[in-house]
């Protein structure tokens, strides 16, 4: 039986990007206000799952040709690397550093090493969640 999912597919093509952009916004909103790598990662995963529902596993794998296990690994390395940076300054593990910079366009911006850590968390969440969904979904 061929299901008719034109509406779902068309909407998804637009909604995916809205969710994805919102997840990036949430990711950067973290630290000083609610948000961060974990929630951002989950939102991105949600967007990809929507793609999976509207299309199928093969199409999505073709559209996003990443190895999600490797993505998890990169995320873990980023997170561990940021936390370990403190070892070289002989301050307690996980001590972060931040400062204010005057960036063009953004103006006075506070840049924090916690953001690199959060980027790691983001990649781990997306990588791990999609790996799980692909593994379970790929069984049928």
């Amino acid at each position: 039986m061929k299901t008719n999912d034109v509406i779902l597919q068309t909407t998804t093509k637009v909604v995916f990007f809205i969710i994805f952009l919102f997840s990036i916004h949430i990711f950067f909103a973290g630290h000083y206000s609610p948000g961060g790598g974990f929630v951002g990662g989950l939102l991105t995963t949600g967007a990809i799952v929507l793609l999976l529902l509207a299309f199928d596993l093969k199409t999505v794998q073709k559209a996003l040709p990443f190895n999600f296990t490797i993505m998890t690994g990169i995320g873990l390395l980023l997170a561990l690397g940021t936390a370990s940076g403190s070892i070289f300054f002989d301050v307690p593990f996980f001590t972060h550093a931040f400062s204010h910079f005057n960036l063009p366009l953004f103006g006075e911006t506070s840049l924090h090493t916690a953001m690199i850590f959060d980027a790691g968390v983001y990649l781990v969440v997306v990588g791990a969640a999609i790996t799980m969904i692909q593994t379970i979904g790929g069984d049928t």
Binding site: T69, I70, T72, G73, L76, L77, L80, S84, S86, I87, F88, D90, V91, P92, F93, F94, T95, H96
Partner: protein, 496 residues
């Protein structure tokens, strides 16, 4: 880099780092093997440095993220946890080398080594953490890695037992969080040193004793205390031998460590109730283990029930709460990790050679595999605690402590259990190595030899551990001091 305040974290970070790197080389078995060994050797070096540093400078403590002490997550390494961390890495190293020729390429290609390293991250973290909620987190890390290890390979029996294993652990983990929440709502802190201070201030009212019992249930499930060990014999027998060796030597010991830590640091003001309960349960654990160890004709089951007996003996020592009892428990804990690791590896070789784990179908191995027989015999004597082998000193100190505390009946049961332990492992020796040789299935001689090397070295280490007791005593007494005097632990964390 002069003072290296982060040194105590290296035995946790290094296995974690190498596990992550291995994710990038899923298919390359040679890289998997060599990076795992390199990672473990690096972790071992750091943990030996840690021991010498703790010996020289006392308890090492650090609070992550430069937060002030009771608010951030503290990591604490006293001699007790440094010794356990080192033993953990040593055993893992030998099990990994043993795996090269026994675990099979299929598993090696499917995250076997990363899972082991992630598990070691969790085990070492649980041994080192100074924050009770963080201990839960590290328990989860090691459990999730162990879920992968127990199911890896997907044999029918593994799938059945892993469902049981996961269910039991998920429930006990939930109870763990609930118990931590109770404790937090009463005490208002999660930092273990701070908890100890706060409980001492309010003098352990009834509600704290209830929480103590809840902790005993949670850690009793993980550490296989009577009657909560019901899941263990079935689940541990399912995965292949190297995984069984890791689980048997390390995972239950994390539960035991947690009981020892909480029952010497937190709940020390109503010993008449809490430690009496621990005493009764540990004796029942020993008796249940003895029955199991004699009841089976299956190699794996016999040694698995010996785990249960050892847990009982160690916790019996702890429940005495005096110097001899506690230092005996520490001696015996490290001994048991080494010797259980060695024994599991050895019975793995017996199973490989005979093609069965049923004692009734074996016989006469002495004619064909004499070295295996002798090494097994030494390990068996070590387990039973025949002097000067490694089990002797620990058990002697535990019994001494029990006599000092006036628990004569308990001491007699411990001594009697030694005979049962000896009998149960000698039965394996008699059935498998004596008697009429049975026809052996054709097996390759090379894996046999390469499995023998790590097993023999581990047995030799355990013998050295027994013979070198005199040399180890200063370290053991440092470890015991912290357990007996919580103030040493508290000062190291809170006075900065």
């Amino acid at each position: 880099m002069t003072s290296m305040i982060n040194l105590l974290l290296f035995p946790i970070i290094l296995p974690f780092f190498f596990a992550i790197v291995l994710l990038f080389f899923k298919e390359n078995i040679r890289v998997q093997r060599s990076l795992t060994v390199i990672g473990l050797l690096a972790a071992l070096t750091s943990s030996l440095f840690l021991i010498s540093k703790v010996k020289a400078d006392g308890v090492q403590a650090i609070t992550l993220g430069s937060w002030p002490a009771p608010f951030g997550i503290s990591m604490v390494s006293d001699m007790f946890s440094a010794l356990l961390v080192t033993t953990t890495i040593i055993i893992t190293l030998f099990v990994v080398v043993y795996s090269f020729s026994s675990i099979g390429k299929e598993r090696e290609r499917f995250f076997y080594y990363p899972a082991i390293l992630f598990m070691i991250t969790g085990v070492n973290g649980a041994f080192t953490t100074g924050d009770i909620f963080n201990m839960f987190v590290f328990f989860e890390v090691l459990l999730i890695a162990s879920y992968l290890l127990i199911v890896l390979g997907g044999e029918k029996r593994q799938l059945r037992e892993s469902i049981k294993y996961i269910l039991v652990n998920v429930i006990s983990s939930a109870l763990f969080v609930i118990t931590v929440a109770y404790l937090y709502s009463v005490i208002g802190t999660l930092n273990m040193a701070d908890i100890s201070v706060k409980i001492a201030e309010i003098g352990q009212p009834g509600i704290i004793t209830v929480i103590a019992v809840l902790f005993l249930i949670v850690f009793g499930v993980k550490g296989s205390l009577f009657p909560l060990y019901f899941w263990l014999p079935g689940s541990y027998a399912a995965p292949p031998i190297p995984v069984l060796a890791l689980f048997g030597a390390l995972l239950t010991k994390v539960g035991v460590y947690a009981i020892i830590r909480t029952y010497t640091l937190f709940f020390v003001h109503d010993i008449g109730f809490t430690h009496e309960l621990l005493l009764v349960l540990s004796i029942l654990t020993i008796i249940a283990g003895c029955i199991g160890a004699l009841a089976y004709f299956d190699l794996k089951q016999i040694i698995i029930y010996n785990i249960v007996i050892a847990i009982g003996v160690i916790l019996f020592g702890v429940s005495q709460m005096n110097e001899s009892g506690l230092s005996g428990a520490i001696f015996y804990l490290v001994h048991d990790m080494l010797i259980k690791g060695a024994l599991f590896l050895l019975i793995g070789i017996i199973i490989y050679v005979t093609g069965t784990s049923n004692l009734r179908k074996m016989g006469g191995l002495m004619k064909t595999h004499a070295p295996l027989g002798w090494v097994y015999l030494i390990a068996a004597f070590g387990l039973a605690g025949i002097p000067p082998l490694s089990g002797f000193v620990g058990k002697m100190l535990i019994v001494k402590g029990a006599f000092e505390a006036g628990n004569v009946v308990g001491s007699i049961i411990i001594l009697a259990s030694s005979l049962v332990v000896l009998l149960s492992v000698m039965r394996i020796f008699i059935y498998a190595f004596w008697g009429k040789p049975v026809e052996l299935p054709k097996t390759d001689r090379r894996p046999y030899r390469s499995m023998m090397i790590p097993s023999v070295v581990l047995v030799v280490l355990s013998v050295l551990y027994g013979v070198g007791t005199e040399w180890l005593i200063p370290y053991m007494s440092d470890a015991t001091d912290v357990l007996l005097q919580p103030s040493i632990y508290i000062d190291a964390v809170l006075k900065e």
